[in-house]
Amino acid sequence: MTLKYDPNVKYAKTDEWARVEGDIVVVGISDYAQDALSDIVYVELPEVGTEVKAGDVVSTVESVKAAADIISPVSGEIIEVNEALDESPELINEDPYGAWIFKVKASDLSELDALMSAEEYEAYNATREH
């Protein structure tokens, strides 16, 4: 199965994706990440209102194989979490770029410059052992 890469988001080395909507940054995990984790059974969502810094662990995605920390790629305030994941964590497996995890009202969008484009991320993944 080929992995999907959404050209409209930016990627972190730790496999989060970030999509900019105005000054809001929507964060989820990549197809590569959900494929590596396999069946996701639980998502520990952050609390709305929490102030985060870029690089903070804000959420945990747990699969039958492992539990992975989700890192915020940007500083700001968590303004919304995807509560559908409480009941249906498998949405991330089914549609990783649709099933966002949290939204941050970003204080400094330039922090996203450190992230990779879809092409760069795909090239990066080619160098990793899956």
């Binding site: 747990e62 492992a66 539990a67």
Partner: protein, 461 residues
């Protein structure tokens, strides 16, 4: 688990692979003169001689077949039916460890699952783990779990001064360096309102004991009111309890405790000098992912047949490392099996009977002791199987008299942990104490009230 020794051929192949000629070469770094130290051991004995020597050493200890005991304070003398030892002595079970390839040992997992199910039913909770080390470590794990549930935003633990003093010590040892605070037992004020007043927006967990360390019972209504008040302040409530008492008392799950812990020794485990025991740990299903310890779950295999697995192990340290919900992912499998066997053998009615007998005998003893001129039962609340007696002399002196003159192991000396009570003794009575023993205790206490006239006739043995 099987142990398969290596063959000579395998040993040779390994030696070749690492390039050595003899096993001795592996010890080359140990200076030659220290390699085979002279241990100066006594001469070897025959099996018969060893048995005789061990019997003599064992006879130095007071044991509960020969001595009547009224000592409790966290470890209790309850009857252990013969079936418990029969079951736990089976070779398939007789190991201290949860297997590293757990699913190969379906029998071990099934036993743990049944233990968890019975613990959940007994405590009125939705889930239970496969046990912790003892009642004290279970309390400490409850504190850490509560802080995890609160996402580390609340870091204070409020403890009742009548939570077992040693449990509070273990709790403090556990959480040192974790940026957590333990408060509530600075004074001996045991009023729930004091605990509620101390509960604020930094409080992760309030821990109380019921029946408490001094044997006293809090009514289900008092417990419910406490739970409501604690929850209203956004904190959680943990209750440390006595599983035997749950034979007649309302389980903590019914008055909305979030975590229930207990010393499980009372369930089919002998006193044996203080351990090994087991820590009972039960909780709400909604908090299962923050729970500590190992969890066994029931499932079906590829053919649809019932099977057991270690479940939710992504919380555990071998996967989550320093982010694990607890760093104890071991359990007391054999002790938990003893507890499960005990509960299965006693059944609902048997457990109730044990609790009732303990209750009635303890109340008979308390009534008789209270009638003595120099003693007073000072438990002002209802009690279960333990009660506090105010004594006319230091408890240690009275206990020495009981032991030497009557072969009675007296109660727990409270003067260290609760000095405000004065010369106070915590007495425990269970179904194991006969009426004759209790009457002897009352007589002996009466005699011990006044220091005997000491005639200096001590003969050295």
């Amino acid at each position: 688990m099987r142990y398969i020794p290596i063959t000579d051929d395998e040993r040779r192949a390994m030696m070749e692979a690492i390039g050595i000629e003899s096993i001795d070469e592996l010890f080359a770094d140990v200076p030659a003169e220290h390699r085979y130290p002279d241990l100066e051991l006594p001469a070897p004995l025959t099996e018969m001689e060893v048995m005789r020597e061990l019997d003599m050493m064992a006879a130095e200890n007071a044991n509960l077949r020969e001595f009547a005991s009224f000592l409790g304070a966290g470890a209790y003398n309850h009857f252990v039916p013969a079936i418990v030892d029969t079951v736990i002595s089976r070779g398939e079970f007789y190991t201290a460890y949860t297997p590293y390839q757990p699913e190969i040992s379906q029998g071990t997992l099934q036993a743990a699952f049944e233990y968890q199910s019975m613990v959940a039913a007994l405590t009125g909770m939705e889930a239970a783990n496969a046990s912790h080390y003892d009642g004290a470590t279970a309390v400490a794990e409850a504190a850490i779990m509560a802080v995890n549930i609160q996402r580390h935003k609340r870091r204070t633990i409020v403890v009742s001064p009548t939570l077992h003093p040693q449990y509070r010590q273990v709790l403090r040892t556990y959480v040192q360096g974790m940026d957590m605070k333990v408060i509530g037992d600075e004074t001996h004020d045991n009023d729930f309102h004091t605990l509620i007043d101390l509960t604020d927006d930094d409080t992760a967990l309030v821990i109380v004991q019921n029946p408490d360390f001094l044997g006293q019972l809090h009514t289900p209504q008092e417990m419910q009111d406490l739970a409501d008040a604690v929850h209203a302040k956004g904190a959680l409530l943990a209750v440390s309890t006595d599983p035997i008492a749950l034979g007649i008392l309302k389980p903590p799950g019914e008055y909305d405790a979030d975590i229930v812990t207990a010393e499980g020794q009372v369930l089919g485990n002998s006193l044996s000098f203080g351990g090994p025991y087991l820590g009972i740990f039960a909780f709400r299903m909604k908090h299962v992912r923050k729970s500590s310890g190992r969890l066994v779950g029931e499932t079906v295999d590829a053919e649809g047949k019932r099977g057991y697995v270690l479940t939710l192990s992504t919380r555990e340290q071998h996967i989550r490392r320093e982010k694990a919900t607890s760093n104890i992912c071991s359990n007391q499998a054999l002790n938990a099996l003893a507890a499960a066997t005990y509960l299965a053998a006693m059944g609902k009615h048997g457990l109730r009977k044990v609790a009732e007998l303990s209750w009635h005998k303890a109340h008979y003893a308390a009534q008789k002791i209270d009638q003595l001129d120099d003693y007073e039962v000072i438990s002002d609340k209802p009690f279960f199987k333990e009660f506090v007696v105010k004594c006319p002399r230091p408890v240690a002196e009275i206990n020495r008299y009981l032991l030497e003159e009557y072969g009675i192991i007296g109660g727990y000396d409270l003067s260290q942990d609760y000095p405000h009570l004065g010369n106070a003794m915590l007495l425990c009575v269970t179904e194991m104490n006969t009426r004759e023993e209790i009457d002897d205790l009352v007589t002996a206490l009466g005699e011990a009230a006044h220091p005997p006239i000491v005639l200096d006739l001590e003969v050295s043995l």
